[in-house]
Structures are given as C-alpha cells and as structure tokens.
C-alpha cells in the first residue's frame, strides 16, 4: 500500500509537471524548434520577447483590462453585497440569483451575446468592450465572496456608525470596507487572475489592441517556437513568484 501510494504520487506528478517543465526547459533551446534534443543554452528567445513591441503592448493591455475590470467588479460587487446584506429587500432572492447567474454560463456564450449587442450599438471591438465583458464574469465572483463574508455583526456595526452620525459613504468607506478587507482583497486578486488569463471573450471583443492570451494565440499559428516557450515561461514564473510570496507572507497561517 505504501509503495503503491508513492509510486502513484511520482507518476501523477510526472504527468502534471511534464508539460510545464518541457515549456521552461525548451525556452532556453539554442535552435529553432523547442523539441529534443536540447542543443544548448541561450537566452536569446527571452531577449526577443522583451524586444517584441506587439507582445509588450499586449502585456500592458492585459494589465489595464485586468486591473480596470476588477476594480469595477469589486466596487459594484461590494455595493450590491452591502445593499443585500443589510435588509431583506422585496425580491432579494431574485436579485441575488440575477447577480450570480453569469457564473453558470460559459464564457463563450457571454462573449457571443456581448458581441451581438455591441454590434447593434456600434461599439467596436476594443479593450473597453473586453473590460465590460470581464466585469460581467467577475462581478458574481466579487459579489458572492463579499456577501458571504458579511454577517450579523456587520449589520450592527453599520447601524451603530449611522446612529453616531456617519453619512452613508462614510459608513461604507470607513466602517464596512476595512472590516471586509480580507474578502475585498481576495475577490480583487481572484478577479485579476481570471481577467488576466481570459481568452475567448477577449478574442471575440478585441481587434487591434489585443490582450496577452490573444497575442499568444496568434503566435501559435506559426507553429512551435522557443519564443512562445519563453513568453509562456515568463508568465508562469512571474505568477509562481507572486503566489509563493503571498503564501509566505499574507496567507501564512499559524501552525496548529
């Protein structure tokens, strides 16, 4: 049983890690094809990535869309959660249902619907259009995380603040938001992650200014290339660095 367990563990880890290891190793390939044999070590593909204007523009576009759309989703989600957690509104179950609904629909369908509406309205495919789409997919996420974090003590603290003369925006910004800081941070970073990596909505709703996943997609058309490996490895290594930093600092739980 014990040997079997360890053998399984090794095998499945090989399966899980194999493509990523191949991706990173062959990004250093000194040759035109990222397949064995490994011909030597070079950093020239990374240099090409850094020098590639389109790629860097796409990186920047992704950055703007991810942070912009997540900020909007966070604010809308926070306000909605504050409103719904406060009192039993008539129809609040329906409202919650409507707010969560986009979570249950595939991104392709959301993108397709938006594409048709934007065509009608004359809004051209753009980063703005993509950002709107990303708010649609991230709003349910932000709303449900923040809503779940609100409890009875929240409501009491808010009432107390209001009784003491705080205005509505003061209650939200100075009392509610700080109390919910962990949930707000979690939903914001999750949103950024999803938006950053989202492909199909961005593919349908951008044309000239494109995001990173769409740019990588268009690089794939020219077949396998160590340059694609290099940009993929960069994204991977940066994300891992962020995750490890968060793991070691923010989310470090005291050992039981």
């Amino acid at each position: 049983m014990r040997i079997l367990s360890w053998a399984y563990l090794v095998l499945i880890f090989v399966f899980i890690l194999l493509p990523v290891v191949a991706l990173v190793v062959f990004s250093f390939q000194d040759g035109r094809l990222p397949v064995p044999p490994l011909k030597g070590f070079t950093l020239k593909w990374y240099a090409e990535v850094i020098a590639d204007r389109d790629l860097m523009a796409a990186l920047w576009n992704s950055f703007i869309v991810a942070f912009g759309s997540s900020a909007v989703a966070l604010v809308l989600g926070f306000l909605a959660a504050s409103g719904l957690a406060r009192v039993a509104l008539p129809g609040s179950v329906v409202m919650r249902g409507v707010l969560i609904a986009p979570m249950t629909v595939s991104y392709l369908i959301i993108g397709l619907g938006l594409l048709q509406i934007f065509n009608k309205l004359g809004l051209r495919p753009s980063l703005l259009a993509t950002g709107i789409g990303h708010v649609v997919i991230n709003l349910p996420l932000c709303f449900s995380i923040i809503y779940a974090a609100m409890g009875e003590h929240q409501r009491n603290a808010l009432r107390a603040a209001r009784d003491l003369g705080a205005r509505e925006w003061q209650v939200l910004a100075l009392v509610s938001a700080p109390m919910l800081a962990p949930a707000l941070a979690a939903s914001f970073f999750l949103s950024v992650t999803f938006s950053w990596d989202e492909f199909i909505i961005a593919f349908l709703l951008t044309r000239f200014d494109i995001t990173l996943p769409v740019e990588i997609w268009s690089m794939l058309r020219s077949g396998l290339s160590p340059k694609t490996n290099a940009i993929g490895s960069l994204v991977f290594l940066v994300s891992v660095a962020i995750v490890v930093t968060l793991e070691l600092t923010l989310f470090r739980k005291p050992r039981p």
């Binding site: 367990s5 399984y8 563990l9 499945i12 880890f13 399966f15 899980i16 890690l17 493509p19 990523v20 191949a22 991706l23 397949v35 064995p36 809308l76 989600g77 306000l79 909605a80 504050s82 409103g83 719904l84 406060r86 009192v87 509104l89 409202m95 707010l99 609904a101 986009p102 249950t104 629909v105 595939s106 392709l108 369908i109 959301i110 397709l112 619907g113 938006l114 048709q116 009608k120 709107i132 789409g133 708010v135 649609v136 709003l139 709303f143 990596d197 492909f199 199909i200 996943p213 990588i216 997609w217 794939l220 490996n229 940009i231 993929g232 994204v235 991977f236 891992v240 995750v243 793991e247």
Partner: protein, 284 residues
C-alpha cells in the same frame, strides 16, 4: 421614515448599479442571442423572422449533430478519468504525505495552474508532437517502433483536458477529505474493516458530494471550452464550441452560432438537472 424603510431604500440604491450592469451586459445580450438563434442567414443578410430553422438543421445535418456527440463524449470521458485519477492523489496527499509536506505537495499538484490557459495547451502540443518529448522517449527506449500520431486527434484534446481537471478535482476532493473526521475511519477499523474496505465503503461515499460538485464543474467547463480542442485536437473532430466559432468566423452566421450556443446551454442545464441532488454549490 422608519429605520427599516430608510435602510430598504438605501439597500435598493446600493444594489442598483450591479443589477443594472448585469441586466445590460448579461441578461439583455443573452436574450438577444436567443432571439438571434431564431433568425437565419440569406446571402450575407440576417433575416429576423422567428423560426426554428437553425435547430432543425442542427439535428438533421450530420456535421453539426456530430459536434454535439463529440463534445458529449469528450466531456464524459474527461470527467470520469479525471475523477479516477484525482481521487487517489487527493487521498494520498491528505493521508499518506507527512503533514509538514502537505502544503508543498498540494502546491506542486496544481503548479501548472499558474501558467496561462492558452500556454498550458500549447505546452502539451510541445510534448505530444511527433518529435516531441514523449514520442522521442518512447521511440528511443524501444517501446514504440515509430512515433504515433497523437496531436490533432481526440486523444490530445482529452489528455490536455485531463491534465487541467485532475488539478481542479484534486483541490476540491482534498478540501473535502481534510474536513472528514478521522473517527469514521477509526470506527470502521475497530469494527473489523480492512484498509480497502475503509476507503471504498466509508471514505469514498463520504466524499461523494464534493466529488459530484467537482465532476459537474469539470463537465461544464470542459464542454464549453474552445481553446484546448482547437490547439490540441485541431480540425479533426470539431466540438460544439469549435463549431460555434467556425460559424462566426467563416460566414458570419450569427444565427447558427447562437442556436448552437443555446444547444450548449441546454446540455449544461441537463447536466445540472442530472446531478442536482448531489450538488452543494456553496462548497466550491
């Protein structure tokens, strides 16, 4: 004005922006898509006389009908195999790996999550190609005489999907396993159950809600994905999302694309209905 009424008005004002956003950019486009699915193309013009022509075509044209079948088959295989591979992994990490290594093992098990989704599919193309790492190793070690074509077949799509969903399911099943009290296993052992009996008759059934939730998520995400089949499966066998994109790209046939999207929605809804009684979505 009473406190209650005041709060109610405030509450409504706070919910309004998010609600309007969802109505304008989700509900409205969704309705427009359903309406569009009832239109049809004449030449390059979209004619919006409501009719079921597209749906009749979907269920009579072999190439379209085949897309539905291919999508269902791939998603079903991927879901089943991913659960079978992920469950032991989650169990080994939760019970066999020493506690201080557990977090590291879990982190390693989901490491490829942190590269982008498109890149992950690409990296399988890298490994599975005719002169890729896997084929070269197999040929050189004498297991295979010549490389076997995997890329641009259904097998490549399935492997790429399983890779992703094993990671996802390992997380959901693991979180389910660590919540179980060890007393269940102890009680069963005291009553004379063998190790395997404890696993299959006690622990496995207790994780069923988590497994079903994960399996449902897998099926839904899998059947709606365009990237993995397009990069790994190529054009050999088109899945439903690939057909939708093809209608858009090649002919600008929005009505047919919309009708296929509605079919996709219905399949997801049916899957939900099929396992609704096991699903506890709030656990995700």
């Amino acid at each position: 004005m009473s406190i209650e009424r005041f709060e109610r008005k405030q509450g409504a004002a706070l919910v309004a922006p998010a609600l309007l956003w969802t109505l304008a950019f989700f509900i409205l486009p969704f309705a427009a898509m359903i309406w569009m699915s009832l239109a049809h193309l004449e030449g390059r013009e979209i004619v919006t006389g409501p009719g079921l022509g597209n749906y009749v075509r979907i269920f009579s044209e072999p190439s379209l009908l085949r897309g539905i079948r291919v999508s269902l088959e791939i998603s079903a295989i991927v879901t089943v195999v991913s659960v079978i591979l992920a469950w032991p992994l989650a169990w080994i990490i939760a019970t066999r790996v020493p506690p201080r290594w557990r977090r590291l093992a879990l982190l390693l098990a989901v490491l490829p999550f942190w590269t982008s989704y498109v890149v992950r599919s690409y990296s399988w193309a890298l490994v599975l190609g005719e002169n890729g790492l896997v084929m070269q190793t197999l040929v050189q070690s004498g297991i295979l005489d010549a490389p076997v074509q995997i890329m641009a077949t259904r097998a490549a799509t399935i492997i790429g999907f399983i890779h992703f969903f094993v990671m996802l399911l390992t997380l959901t099943i693991y979180s389910n396993l660590v919540q179980l009290s060890p007393n269940y296993a102890r009680a069963a052992e005291d009553l004379g159950a063998s190790r395997l009996q404890v696993i299959f008759l006690v622990i496995l059934p207790l994780t069923l809600p988590g497994v079903m939730t994960g399996a449902f998520l897998t099926f839904v995400l899998c059947i709606g994905d365009y990237i993995t089949p397009q990069i790994l499966g190529g054009n050999s066998e088109l899945t439903l999302p690939q057909l939708i994109m093809l209608q858009l790209g090649r002919r600008g046939d929005y009505p047919m694309a919309s009708a296929l999207a509605v079919v996709l929605m219905v399949l997801v809804t049916l899957a939900y209905a099929a396992c609704a009684r096991w699903l506890k979505m709030e656990r995700v």
